[in-house]
Assembly symmetry: none
Homo-oligomer: 227 residues x 2
DNA sequence: TTTTCTTTATAAAATCTTTATACAGCCGGG
DNA sequence: CCCGGCTGTATAAAGATTTTATAAAGAAAA
């Protein structure tokens, strides 16, 4: 009936069990992850239709996980957290969470909020595939094809390409890209950026010496052009 | 900056005042309605970008109002209610509400949830583009086009052009331009200015010898004309 | 082990600064 | 009137500096 896939990222096994039973009895397909790392990998390998994310993960800050996911994952993310402080809620929502429920939550309300989130997302059902002639990028499926052949990109390369593609046409500054891809502590490591831009060009440009898609704006940053 | 219009439907005048002050100080435009009927009419005559709806209206059930609105209104509706029962929340969400906050609410959280709701709804908005006939300047994307072709400008050239364009029609003195573009220590280097004005003209004017956009005001400075 | 990321090094390219030269208009004296 | 010096301007081009591209080696992670 429903068949939407929901990924539960939570370290408490009881919560995961409860959610699995609740969700499956409402015809959702449930997959699980118990750590931030596992959650990221699962999201990448089997992109779900919605993510339930606990902020209190053992191996990484939930807010950081959210930011990382939102770099490319566009479907709903609902936060489940014992933290009820306004600061946490505002931060999570501004980082791209669609909703925030404080534990313990009422299952009926959770289900209603899941329905609401999925409903709101239904309109843009198909994967956003960016097509630039010989180059095709499916942000959600995390697949990049050139001349119909899948190109293997490393995590960093993919994140960087996502940032550029999502802001197609705009010039992104070195600082911005470094902050979004590597983190705020790396805004002066322009060299990292150059290295990875060069690698991306070698992989996606027809002629890396005459880049068409990834254009450098000297002294400012880089820009992605689709055409 | 923001300019999204928010309609507040609530019968308590204190709540409306509070919301008006809170929202307006966050650059939203606020319109109000104190009854269900008034709310419906206002929504129809001036469709807002988001509705804050109180469930406890004097003249009609809030759930009924929500259903009526959702018959045609597609933008976000956030419920504000003193009712915290699961039944009410589930009903409201399933009737098409995007979110549900229990009164008394925290203003920071409300604002974050409003941002989240509007964010999810915003369609392909493109940047404000300054259009001067064959010349187009997108300040946000940092892109200058002439006859729809992207012109490559260096950092200094772009900064200088920005100063001129932002003060379109006004004469900017040598001193002013030098101070703004190069810094206060360069106000006597008129030569720099001449060099870069010449380069800009070569790039954006149809005929650099007969400049139309960048006009020199002898003895004073330069002026940018859009037409 | 293999892959990926970080770091270092160096050559090449782009940009900015600086200098040089040319032109046009203006004014006063011859 | 006309000519030379003056001022303000335009443009080219050489040099200096900054920024970028790329390879490759070492470190870390899978």
């Amino acid at each position: 009936m429903n068949n939407a896939t929901i990924l539960v990222i939570d370290d408490e096994v009881q919560i995961r069990k409860l959610l699995q039973i609740t969700l499956e009895s409402n015809d959702y397909k449930v997959i699980q992850a118990s750590t931030a790392k596992e959650g990221m990998i699962t999201t990448a390998s089997h992109p779900p239709d919605l993510i339930l994310l606990d902020l209190g993960l053992p191996d990484d800050s939930g807010h950081h996980v959210l930011q990382q996911l939102r770099a490319w994952y566009t479907k709903p993310i609902i936060i489940l957290s014992v933290q009820s402080s306004e600061e946490d809620i505002v931060k999570a929502l501004d980082n791209g969470a669609n909703d925030y429920l404080v534990k313990p939550f009422r299952t009926g309300e959770l289900l209603a909020r899941i329905r609401s989130a999925i409903r709101g997302n239904l309109s843009e059902e198909n994967d956003p595939v960016i097509d630039c002639g010989s180059l095709q990028i499916d942000l959600l499926a995390r697949i990049v094809k050139k001349n119909n052949e899948i190109i293997k990109l490393t995590t960093t390369e993919y994140t960087l390409l996502c940032m550029l593609v999502k802001n197609e046409g705009k010039v992104l500054t070195h600082h911005y890209l470094l902050r979004e891809v590597w983190g705020p502590g790396y805004i002066n490591q322009s060299q990292y950026l150059r290295v990875f831009i060069a690698q991306l060009r070698k992989k996606i440009e027809d002629d890396a010496n005459r880049p068409v898609h990834i254009v450098t704006e000297s002294g400012v940053g880089y820009r992605f052009t689709a055409t």
